[in-house]
Amino acid sequence: MADEAPDLRTFIDLSVVLTGFSEVELLGTGMAALYYGTVRGAVGEGVMGDLLATFRAVSHGGGDLETAMRTRILGDPRLGQVARNLITLWYVGNWYEMSQLWRDAYGISPSDVTRVVSAESYQQGLMWAAGETHPQGAHQPGFGTWALPPARSSS
């Protein structure tokens, strides 16, 4: 499916803006392609295509990116919840079912089910890195590491 590549590229660019993590950090999780498929499966190709097209327009449109993101994507009734779900997908590793109001308005996919996407997605959740720690139950830091001050401690 060679025509997926540009969309995946845009999906990663969008994810960088939404998560605050760099492209290298996101690619390092190994989850980008799986998450692309997860979102597309849950909201459908039409919504996914529009989300990515809108993001291309926003990112090439100049002006304040945050304002444009809020106006055209996060504040959009059809795209906003998808974008927020994309953030929580990256941070937690879970897909959360779209709200009933959204499903009533824009359609229901059998893949739109609240779930941990995979054992790996849990371990790659960005929330652990954001909190400057490791996923509970994985990526063990080693004996006694917890007795050391955290990186930013002033003590």
Binding site: V17, L18, T19, G20, F21, E66, M69, L74, A83, R84, I87, T88, Y91, V92, N94, Y96, T114, R115, V116, S118, A119, E120, Y122, Q123, L126, M127, W128, A130, G131, E132, T133, H134, Q136, G137, A138, Q140, P141, G142, F143, G144, T145, W146, A147, L148, P149, P150, R152, S153, S154, S155
Partner: protein, 626 residues
């Protein structure tokens, strides 16, 4: 009558495993019946449990251990939801704890805290006029505590654990040096250590004290194994930690090569990924495999007794082929001595279903837990939350004193896992920041970076007295998939316990002020149970410390088992575990459970002296010989 085994044990948790190990090493044949599956007994099975944890939406204590309708277990998510779950909660308060029915038992997801009970905890009635006395004293159990600390592999320093009357034999050292205290413990200690609060009219000094833990640390070279308990190499000096286990011949290497030190996975509950934390399978794998038969997927359903004289003749059990099917066959296990080691609730249920051990009228009664009052807040600076074992320290100085005549004592567990327990953090923090905070991008990341590392949670484990009204019963209308009874639970919190929560609340407010910690305790962000007392709302949860259902005592009129955990009504039947505890004090009970099990093992070996070893020949069926 044909006696196939010297001893038939029901339940492959820590008590059953200790008995199986001691009795088989003592030359006796043992049949161990386990209601659940044997998944965790092999390393690949254990990894499948780990995978279940990773993929579980709610990472509750049971999440790695799949629900089995043929041996159902309570579920944290069902507590307080009428009509759901394994327990039939008959109120007035929903019992807040759970356990797991699979080989290894609840030690698969215990925290690992190994505090000894205080000497005064054994004498609550005579010293403070409340509760019950144990039929023996701390001094009588002191050597058994040593055996329990050896078996579990406890990491601690004696000099930090001698307080409120706890004594150790001269020269005693714990098997391993203490687990390092977390950075957040150290920050709290810098503020709290040496400060005092008033108790019994006098200042009582506080200390953020290292918690003795059943997880592998640096072995103490000065540790000396008790006589006759040396490892296979015969050397009694220097503790040898036991890592991950697998009963297959090559699997034995794991114990040496994996899980030799805690690596800070921060998931002791629900599952330690490397088995650096003790679980009962470590004990079971060291039983004498030639004398031990483990039969899993075998649910004891009835204890069969001779109507004249009360001797136990057998244990009827339902053997099922698959947790996915209610098909089973009924079989009977026979031995000379029988031991119920199935859990406080399951032991009581089984005896009630068999209409046995009823003389005192106490069977099923006096159900206790440690209701845990939770308070959480945000430290002014990052303290490195979400790192290390889930708890490495506590405040133990308020566990004892004359005040116990009037209100419950408590210990304070200092968490290392942020607000995971009360709020489901960090997931809940992400959902909140994105869903209500409308944050995204670098500001979202910065917000989480700013807050997660400052989260602190304190748990106040409050004592509960034995109350006959708190009880487990059975009712023919409530049964599981294969026709066994579901426990019906009546439970409440007394004024004595609630007053302890009140004292805990006042201490919490004081500690938060000392620490400059913003109080974020909030009912709306929590799934905890709620109870209001004297206009104060307490948010609390169960500790998983079920106790008291077949209370131990010094007379058959007032207790179900004697000081050896032998049923007064049935000379060849023992009921072991926390169900025998007359009171529980404020210590997490597993260490004391293990100590009392060693005591009972001695009594059983003595009983069996009159007999030559039984054959231990295994009837047909699925067998496992670790």
């Amino acid at each position: 009558m044909m006696e196939d085994y010297d001893v038939v044990i029901v339940g492959a948790g820590i008590a059953g495993a200790i008995l199986a190990k001691v009795l088989t090493q003592g030359g006796r044949s043992v049949l161990l019946l386990e209601a659940g599956t044997a998944t965790a007994m092999t390393w690949d099975g254990y990894l499948s449990n780990l995978n279940s944890f990773y993929t579980a939406l709610a990472k509750v204590p049971e999440s790695p251990y799949p629900y089995n309708p043929d041996a159902p277990q309570p579920d944290v998510l069902a507590i307080g939801i009428p009509g759901s779950g394994y327990f039939v909660q008959d109120g007035p308060v929903a019992y807040g704890s759970t356990y797991t029915r699979t080989a290894g038992g609840t030690t698969l997801h215990w925290l690992g805290t190994c505090l000894r009970m205080l000497p005064e905890d054994f004498e609550l009635r005579s010293r403070f006029g409340v509760g019950r006395d144990w039929p023996f004293a701390y001094g009588d159990l002191r050597d058994d505590y040593g055996l329990a600390e050896m078996e579990i592999g406890v990491a601690a320093e004696v000099e930090e654990q001698e307080y409120l009357g706890i004594t150790f034999p001269k020269g005693y050292v714990y098997p391993m040096h203490k687990i390092p205290q977390s950075w957040s413990d150290q920050v709290l200690g810098q503020v709290i250590d040496g400060r005092s609060v008033d108790l019994d009219g006098r200042p009582r000094e506080l200390k953020v004290r290292s918690t003795p833990q059943g997880r592998n640390s640096i072995p103490n070279a000065n540790y000396r194994y008790p006589k006759g308990r040396e490892p296979r190499d015969g050397q009694d000096r220097g503790y040898r930690p036991v890592g991950a286990v697998d009963p297959r011949p090559r699997g034995q290497d794991l114990a040496r090569d994996l899980g030799q030190r805690c690596a800070g996975n921060s998931a002791c509950v629900p599952i330690c990924p490397i088995q650096a934390k003790y679980n009962a399978l470590k004990t079971l794998v060291h039983a004498d495999g030639d004398r031990l038969t483990v039969r899993t997927q075998a649910v004891a359903s009835r204890v069969l007794a001779d109507p004249a004289g009360g001797r136990i003749l057998g244990i009827e059990y339902k053997a099922y082929e698959s947790p996915n099917s209610p098909a089973y066959t009924t079989q009977v296990a026979r031995g000379r001595v029988y031991v119920l080691a199935a859990h406080a609730v399951e032991n009581a249920k089984l005896l009630l279903a068999s209409n046995l051990a009823g003389t005192s009228g106490q069977l099923g009664r006096n159900l206790m837990d440690h209701p845990v009052l939770l308070r959480w807040g945000l430290m002014p600076e990052p303290v490195g939350s979400f790192r290390g074992p889930l708890s490495t320290s506590g405040i133990e100085d308020l566990r004892g004193g004359e005040f116990r005549a009037a209100r419950a004592a408590f210990r304070v567990e200092v968490g290392n896992d942020g607000w995971t327990w009360p709020t489901g953090s960090p997931e809940s923090e992400v959902l909140q920041a994105v869903g209500q905070g409308n944050l995204f991008g670098s500001r979202l990341r910065a917000q989480l970076r700013e807050t997660l590392s400052r989260q602190i949670r304190l748990g106040f484990l409050v004592e509960q007295l034995p109350d006959p009204a708190n009880r487990v019963t059975i009712d023919p209308q409530y049964r599981d998939a294969i026709g066994n009874f579901r426990p019906v639970i009546q439970y409440g919190l007394s004024d004595y316990t609630l007053a302890g929560m009140g004292a805990g609340t006042m201490l919490a407010e004081r500690l938060f002020q000392w620490l400059g910690m913003a109080d974020r305790t909030n009912a709306a962000q929590s799934l905890l149970s709620q109870i209001t007392w004297r206009n104060q709302l307490f948010l609390w949860g169960g500790a998983g410390h079920f106790a008291g259902t077949h209370v131990m005592g010094s007379t058959p009129a007032s207790s179900v088992v004697d000081s050896w955990q032998r049923c007064w009504d049935h000379e060849n039947l023992f009921a072991v575990g926390c169900g025998s505890f007359p009171t529980m004090g404020t210590s997490n009970p597993t260490l004391t459970l293990a100590a009392t099990t060693f005591r009972t093992a001695r009594a059983i070996l003595k009983d069996l002296e009159a007999y030559a070893p039984a054959s231990g020949s295994a009837p047909t069926g699925e067998e496992r010989r670790p």
